[in-house]
Structures are given as C-alpha cells and as structure tokens.
Amino acid sequence: MKGIVFNLLEETVSHDYGEDVWDQLLEAAQLDGAYTSLGSYSDEDLMRLVAAASSALNTPPDEIVRWFGRSALPLFADRYPQFFEPHTSTRSFVLTLNQVIHPEVRKLYPGADVPVFDFDTSSEEVLVMGYASPRKMCAFAEGLIQGAASHYGEQAVIEQPQCMVRGDEKCVLEISFSR
C-alpha cells in the first residue's frame, strides 16, 4: 500500500477525531506510524489500523473503510485538482479512473499496484463498475465515490449485488447518481 494512503488516513482521523485518537490507533495496532507518501508499506499495516479503529469505535471494518474513502476524497481534490476540474458530474469523473487517474498515479509512484475497473455504461441511469483486487477494498471505492458525488453536488446510491467480501469472484457496484 502506498504511503499516501496512510498519510490521508492520519489526516482524516486527526481531523474528525483528533490527533490523540490517531496515536491510540497506532499504539493499538502496534505500529510506529512513520509514513511518507514516497514509500510503500505492507497492506497488513492498513488492515491492522482498520481493525484497531473498528474495535475502538465499535464499528464494522467496512464501515470504517467507507468513512475513510468519503473523508479522504476532499483531500485528493485538494492535492490533485487537475483530475477533478475537467468534469461536472461524478459519472464522467469516475469513468476516467482507468485511462487518466491511475496511469498518473503510476507516474508519481512507480510500482503502484492500482486496481483496474471494468465499466458497463450501457445504461444512462446506472453505472455498473466491476472491481477485483486481493485487497477486497470495495468499501473504500464506495466511500470515494460517495465523496466524489458530494464534490460534484450529487448523491450516489450504491448497490453491490456481488462482493468479494461475501465470497464472490469479484465485486460489482451498481451506482446511480442524483442531484
């Protein structure tokens, strides 16, 4: 996992719950917590932080991850406005993930293991997005999409008829946007 994700997690936790909570999470997860955006760190670190947060806040891990995605999106928009500016809707922004955003991520962080999504755009109303990753972080994607919807002044309703967490081969997100 890229260091930027840990940096953003620290920022969102500190912002919403205070710096002390971040310190407590690190202690509970038994991590030293020195992360730089330039580095790569074990996926396990993130899982332990999520688990720690889950038990500290008495909230399911997926819920924690979803909250993280939603809260991290404004920080992304702040750091990388060039990806957000050309779009006026969440749908068109999300559709540039494979072609524009993730290729750029690879330029900044060589070796970044970004997920590849498949899209079914045949319906105007519902965007169908497939996701398959050993990290099984579909909840993070959900949170980010909801955060993006807020960014564009929309609401996103997301259903997951298939989910890797539930044992399916891949996750399928059916997303409908409304203003």
Binding site: T36, S37, L38, P86, Q99, V100, P103, R106, K107, L108, Y109, P110
Partner: protein, 575 residues
C-alpha cells in the same frame, strides 16, 4: 563590535524563567507542523522529479522500441506498425495511422492500412474515410506535415477549417490530433497521425519526441529504398534501363505458369544488323547511345502491347500476350522501332519468335527456338540480297532519295497519279502515294527466287512467306524517315475491302486510301500483262473483272475513278 559577535557570541536563550508548560506545548506543536510541512514539500519535490523521470524514461523506452524495430524490421511497414502502436501506448491515444508519400514531382500522401485502433467498431467510419482519402501538400492534417516537413497539432479537428475528415472524426468521437513526418535527409517520405477523444492543447515535449521517432523511421525507410534500388539494379540493364536477361527469365517463367492455348505468350528475340559496323565507324560511346535510343523507342512502341528486355550486346527480347494482336503485328511493330538510319549507316533488327505454351513449355526451350528462327531469317535475308539487288544498296538509294525516285514512273505509278487526280486527292497525299506505288514490290527482294518464280501454285508455307513481302517492303521504306507514309501504304497494299487480305486483315476505310488506290492499279496492270500461265486480258475484260470485285476486294470509288481514267485515255487514243 560586529553583528556576528553580537549575535553568535552570546547564548541565544533568553535569561529568566523557564517557559510555562502551555508555552512549551505550543512551541513543540509549532515545530511539528514545520517538520510536517517540510516533509510535505520534500515529498512534493520528489514526486515532481519522479514524474519527470518517469516521462523521460517512457520517452526513452518508446524511442528504443522504435529504434529496435527500425534496425530489425525486414520491411519499413513493420517498423511503422511498431511506431504507430508504440505512440498510441505512450500517449494513451486510441487511434494512429500511417501515410506514404508517392510521386516525385507532385508528391501526394497515400493512406496505408497500417493502423492502431483501440476500438475497431467505434472508429470504423473514420478508418474507411481515411483509407479513401489522398492528401495533397497543405491539405488536412497530414498534408500540412507534407508541406512543412515538421510536426503539426490540431486542438480539435471537429472545429478545424482544414480537416476534410471532420464528420468521420466526430462520428468516432475524435478531437485532438497531431502528426509528424518521416524524413530522409529533409525529404518527407511518410506521415504518421494520431487522434484523441478529448480536445488538447499542443504538447511541445511530446512533439519533440515524435520528431525523433520520425528520424528513426526515416533510417529504415532509407534502407528499404536502398534495398529496392539494389533489387532494381540486379534486374535491369544500366545502359538502357530495360529489364535484363535475369528479369526476362523470371517473367517468362511466371508467364509460362499463366499461359494456355487460348492465352498464348509470344517470345521475340531481336538481333541488330549493322550495329557492329556502326560501333566500328563511330566508336563505342556512340554505339551505347544508339542502344539507349533504340531501347527507348522499343519501350514506346510496345506500350500496351508487351514488355521489352535487353539480353546483352545488341540483342533485345520482347514478351507479349496475344490478347488483341497477331504475333506478326507485335513483331513488326517492335522491329520497326529497332531501326536507325543515317549518313553512311543503317541499323535494323532481325527477329525470331516462339509461342508459349504451344511451341514450348520451358523458358530455355522457347528462347532457343526464337534464337534459331532469328538466325534462319538473317541467312534468308542475306541470301536473297546476294541473288538480287542488295537491300543495303536499295536503302542507300532510298536514303539519299534521288530526285528521280518520284519521277521514275512505271505504269502502275502513272495510273495511280491519274486516279489520284480523278479522286481529287490533296498534293500532300499524292506524293507518298506515288513513292509507294513505284516501290510497292520492293519487299519481294527478300523473297527467295524459288518461291517468286515457282510455276505452279504455292503451298501454305510458301504462301505465308510470300505474304510477308508487304511487311518487308514497309521495313525497307521505314528506314528513310521521308518515306514513312509511303511505307504504311506499301504494308497495306494487299489488303482487301472485305478483310480477307494481308498482312493485317484490315477492312474498308481502315485500309489507307493510298493503299486502296495502289491495290486497284496494281491489279489492273497485272491483268493487262502477259503471265506464264495466262495471256494478257483486254482492257475491257480487266475493267469488267475490277467492277466485279468492287466492294469485296476493291474500293468501288477507286474502281470507278480508274474506269473513268481509262475511258478518257481510250477516247484520247482513239481520237
């Protein structure tokens, strides 16, 4: 006291009480924030450098890919395909396409089938439109590159006034575009173009990279060109530019495969007569120049008829498929081209022919037969001239065109003159007619005496030989440029109105009028003369016979004119 000693010489820490815990905490926080900001900045600097490195490396990789392909590809088209794919992968643009330049004096861009298409269905209309469009310099995106020899960028092709494919591009959802030239020492030999689904501002760095790729591709194109030149040299004679013996064998083998009884291939071998004398008199340089001139004439004469080759020395060859013409026609046409004649020299050509596959089914055999026949014909020619008036002497006479030539009128010539007058032919037509009339039998000089004076009827082979005298007559007269029109009349002087004559089986008005006049006058004169097998006919009998054959063998208007001429003469004679 300097500022230095004042500032550094004393301890910095303010004297007095230690800071309160709150103050201490504030300072620590402040320090932490500074550290965090410094880390952020360091990360950002590093990201910028990493990104730049990434781009540089990607550019290098693309260049290396194209350079490797340019070095290893056996054909330029392969390297071009690698470049088109590579640039699309590098830019993430979904469409790439290549053009080749054709034409030296007025270059034009011809679309190739070398494409990169991310989605064949989405871009089908654009592909079809592009492959159906050729670009002149300055026209459209590739035309701009052809005109300037440099890269070009269009922010949005659907809004560009000089982009003929705008509708097809809009259909495929294409907007931004750039193109760059493939150059061989400054000359544009190909153009590659690329398209993106979004409008985009020009990217100078990218265009610099594309210019480098164009240079790399130029090298492989140059190598291709050199290879093509070598291949051309291997199959062509440098002196005349004609395909050589090796090319002939290859073409003949290929022709053999496709030839059949219905679709025959004619092989003609030509050997120049008088070339050695020419070389001896004027030197080898002049001889070479003569060969080049003859080769050029042969090429022109064979346009649409067949292909010329130079076998070496003063030997030429012709391959012709017999779709529309008789073998004799092609052979004589080529022979007439291989003639040059001037002060003190005459160069002509003898030929031999072979038909594939009826006479031979192998290339060496066909060439051997043609060669044998050529030498047989050469010896007939020299025997005949030994026994009779030498053709060389005759040609000499013709070449210097004694003033007597047109005045020396035998009976046929005199009749022709009178008929021409009756037909009110223009003076321009009368002169060649009279020349032809006096020399219309000159080709018989080449017919062996045994055939010419044979008392009984001729067999088929002898008759075929006999029929050639008009062709030979034409060739002899063709040697003198001033007799070109007369030569054509001689050639057709034995044609019949109904198409049953020789050598071309011409019909009606296709037979030159001069030849029709000679034919009637010649027949009349022959019937009025004693022959070994019959006495001379009377004037009345001869005229009746002519009238009888008017419309089938003879031109009725010419027969009518001759009858009028004779009637006037008899009247005058009686009177």
């Amino acid at each position: 006291v300097s500022w230095r000693s004042r500032f550094l010489g004393r301890p910095q820490r303010a004297e007095g009480a230690a800071p309160s815990p709150e103050e201490e905490l504030r300072r620590v926080r402040h320090r932490l924030e500074r550290e965090r900001a410094a880390r952020r900045e360091a990360e950002q600097i590093s990201e910028t450098v990493t990104r730049r490195l990434y781009e540089k490396q990607a550019a290098l990789e693309l260049l290396e890919t194209v350079a490797t392909a340019s070095n290893e590809a056996s054909a330029a088209a392969e390297a071009m395909k690698v470049a088109v794919d590579g640039v699309c992968a590098h830019t993430g643009w979904p469409v790439g396409h290549a053009y080749l330049v054709e034409g030296d004096s007025t270059p034009v861009l011809v679309p190739t089938t070398t494409w990169h298409l991310d989605d064949a269905v989405q871009f089908e209309a654009f592909r079809a439109k592009s492959e159906a469009t050729r670009f002149a310099p300055g026209v459209g995106l590739p035309g701009r590159v052809l005109a300037t020899g440099t890269v070009a960028w269009i922010i949005d092709v659907t809004n560009d006034p000089n982009f003929p494919r705008a509708a097809a591009a809009a259909e495929g959802g294409l907007k931004a575009a750039f193109a760059f030239p493939v150059l061989i020492s400054g000359e544009v030999v190909a153009v590659l173009e690329f398209f993106a689904p979004e409008a985009a501002e020009p990217d100078g760095q990218l265009l610099d990279l594309m210019a480098h790729i164009g240079t790399q591709l130029g090298r492989v194109m140059e190598r291709d060109r050199a290879r093509a030149q070598l291949a051309h040299q291997a199959l062509h004679d440098p002196l005349t530019g004609l395909p050589n013996r090796r090319a002939l064998i290859a073409d003949l083998e290929e022709g053999l495969a496709g030839a059949s009884k219905e679709k025959q291939l004619l092989v003609l071998l030509y050997d120049l007569d008088g070339f050695k004398a020419y070389n001896d008199s004027f030197g080898h340089a002049a001889g070479d120049a003569l060969l080049a001139r003859l080769a050029h004439r042969l090429t022109t004469a064979l346009e649409g008829r067949g292909s010329p080759y130079r076998m070496g020395g003063d030997e030429f060859c012709v391959l012709a498929s017999l779709d529309f013409e008789s073998p004799e026609n092609v052979a004589e046409h080529a022979a007439a081209a291989l003639v040059e004649h001037g002060e003190g020299f005459t160069v002509t050509a003898s030929y031999g022919s072979a038909l594939v596959p009826t006479e031979s089914t192998s290339s060496t055999e066909a060439l051997r037969i043609a060669d044998q026949r050529m030498y047989a014909r050469k010896s007939i020619g020299s025997r005949a001239s030994a026994g009779r008036q030498s053709t060389d002497v005759l040609l000499k006479v013709l070449s210097e065109r004694s003033p007597d030539l047109g005045i020396h009128l035998d009976e046929v010539t005199e009749l022709c003159r009178a008929v021409a007058e009756k037909l009110e032919l223009h003076e321009d037509q009368v002169a060649p007619l009279l020349q032809a009339a006096s020399l219309h039998d000159v080709g018989k000089a080449a017919i062996p005496d045994e055939i010419l004076n044979k008392p009984g009827p001729l067999d088929a082979e002898e008759w075929e030989f006999m029929c050639r005298h008009t062709l030979i007559g034409q060739r002899i007269l063709s040697a003198a440029p001033a007799l070109t029109r007369a030569a054509a009349f001689v050639r057709s002087s034995h044609e019949r109105l109904d198409g049953q004559g020789y050598p071309d089986k011409l019909r009606g008005d296709d037979i030159p009028l001069g030849a029709r006049v000679i034919s009637v006058c010649d027949a009349f004169d022959a019937m009025r003369s004693d022959r070994p097998h019959r006495p001379a006919m009377s004037t009345e009998e001869a005229l009746t016979e002519l009238r009888h054959c008017a419309g089938t063998q003879f031109d009725p208007s010419v027969v009518h004119a001759l009858c009028a001429v004779i009637a006037e003469r008899e009247h005058v004679a009686i009177g």
